[in-house]
Symmetry: C2
Subunit: 318 residues, 2 copies
């Protein structure tokens, strides 16, 4: 645990304190407020943030049917055997098309639902790409502060971009279905560049050695290192080795030096989002005040393009 001690002068809000005590209920309440866009939740997140840095967040992506949920189930079992607390954040696509898959995933994970060391939550990605990252980043702070050691993030369906998932996690794993050797070709280029761990799953199927060789060859060509492993999620073969590898990366992930760039990015997006929300309101007020003058209103209706450029110049003068 590398939890930092909070400032002894500061006082922690009761909701945040409950989360710190490990209450799943309090965490769920806070997450619901984050999803609802409650601005007051930022004060709670500010209370929680100094207690984060324990969790290792891993994204697990891959084509539908590759065995994501079964693999996640196996990893949860292994982490629990080691006494770790685990969180699963399933990100539903905004499209209703794959509703069935989400339900299926939930059912498959039911076996862990009663385990007090496993927190499972699904989150709708609600259209706006930026919206998902924002909400997910805040939710991950809550899960980390809750004391979870490993958080598995599963993008369900294709509702989110791979770069977006990569920006949220410490480690990105991709399931590669073996087969006729074109498994590697079916993975999107973005994932091939950003993933840390390549999991050739269903290793009882033919084509596994070819897929592994393809991946190793591909990794030679890219600048960042990557790890290739074989698993059979259904029988559990290889899952333990994968879990151990993930844990071996944890210390490095937890170091402040490695966390700092992501936190800085988080700060940038927080400030920019909050400031722009305010400024948007200020701009809207200025526009209404401008249009309240009859000759401005007439001129704006005569040529909105011409007048817009004039008003904008006034508005953005630093």
């Amino acid at each position: 645990m590398i939890r930092k001690s909070p400032d002894p002068e500061s006082c922690i809000r009761p909701e945040a304190a409950e989360v710190l005590s490990g209450s799943f209920l309090a965490a769920s309440r806070l997450i619901r407020r984050i999803e609802a866009g409650d601005p007051a939740v930022l004060a709670d997140l500010a209370d929680l943030f100094p207690f984060t840095g324990n969790a290792c967040v891993m994204g697990i992506t891959g084509p539908p049917g590759a065995g994501k949920s079964t693999l996640i189930s196996g990893l949860i079992r292994r982490f629990r055997d080691l006494g770790l607390r685990v969180g699963v954040l399933a990100i539903d696509p905004s499209s209703p098309v794959s509703g069935g898959a989400i339900l299926g995933d939930r059912i498959r994970m039911q076996s862990h639902a009663a385990d007090p060391g496993v927190f499972i939550r699904s989150m709708a990605s609600r259209g706006g790409a930026g919206g998902l990252s924002r909400v997910a980043r805040d939710v991950l702070v809550v899960l980390d502060a809750l004391g979870l050691d490993m958080i598995l993030l599963e993008p369900v369906g294709s509702g989110q971009s791979d770069t977006e998932i990569a920006s949220l996690v410490h480690l990105l794993g991709v399931l590669v279905p073996p087969g006729t050797g074109d498994g590697v070709q079916t993975i999107k280029a973005g994932i091939l560049e950003t993933a840390d761990i390549f999991i050739v799953n269903k290793c009882d199927l033919p084509g596994v050695p070819e897929a592994v060789a393809d991946l190793r060859g591909m990794l030679h060509l890219r600048s960042r290192p990557g790890w290739v492993c074989e698993t059979c999620a259904r029988t559990g073969e290889g899952t333990g080795e994968l879990a151990d590898y993930i844990l071996s990366r944890r210390t490095e992930i937890q170091s402040w030096q490695n966390r700092a760039p992501a936190i800085r990015d988080h700060f940038r997006s927080l400030v920019s989002r909050l400031a722009l929300a305010h400024l948007e309101k200020q701009v809207a007020d200025r526009i209404e005040a401008f249009l309240a003058v009859p000759e401005n209103d007439r001129a704006a209706s005569d040529n909105p393009y011409r007048l817009a450029r004039e008003l904008v110049e006034q508005l953005v003068r630093p």
Copy 2:
């Protein structure tokens, strides 16, 4: 024609002048610049705007297979017989799923492609909902300035919201498939509230009188009036009557009084978009300047939530 005379002092850019002379090629070039987000295009749009107000923009929506493209083809034929110049703007959904339908639509409209009085263009809705309205609104200015009399806007697939389409057009028509009487129930509530014209298409199918009666009953319940008609797009039956009704609404649509609220909204969104793009850049610069101070950088990494709120207060001070 209610084209306003431009200010005799002002000079029109050559690109805009070419559009005003009716050049489809110049219009296509300008539209491409709008889609690419070229900021300089606003100057051309400012040149063109005083020459708009001639076109009547009608949206035609309806479930897939309801016969939208065939109906549009029939309307084009009728408008052309009356000597009107016609534009068709097909808005492709961002989802690649219905790619086939778009191609099909294009092929069906091929018969008009060689007609110098018909301008057909398809536009990708490119993800962001707001992005579509912005681009479409600017493109409609070009089509109007090009001298087109009728512009038919066809949302292809379900990539865009109905309220978004309604905000772009003067008249909204919805195709209602007849059938077992549940046709009306299958139309989304939003469309039932916003549509102006309800077109019971394929009137050789059973269930037409029931669908018409259902629609008339529904229109009694809503505050705005609406018009119900029967067409058979395939044989052309009823299409002439529909076209004549649309044209009968044109004078009212062209009146400055009726156009002003939409132009005012256009002005609001233009100013807000341009101003926020500038402000976003200013905020980003301020954040970098802030983080360039080592102790700020350290503090931001220690607790991004706490420091974000402090910095935001400085940034948004009016």
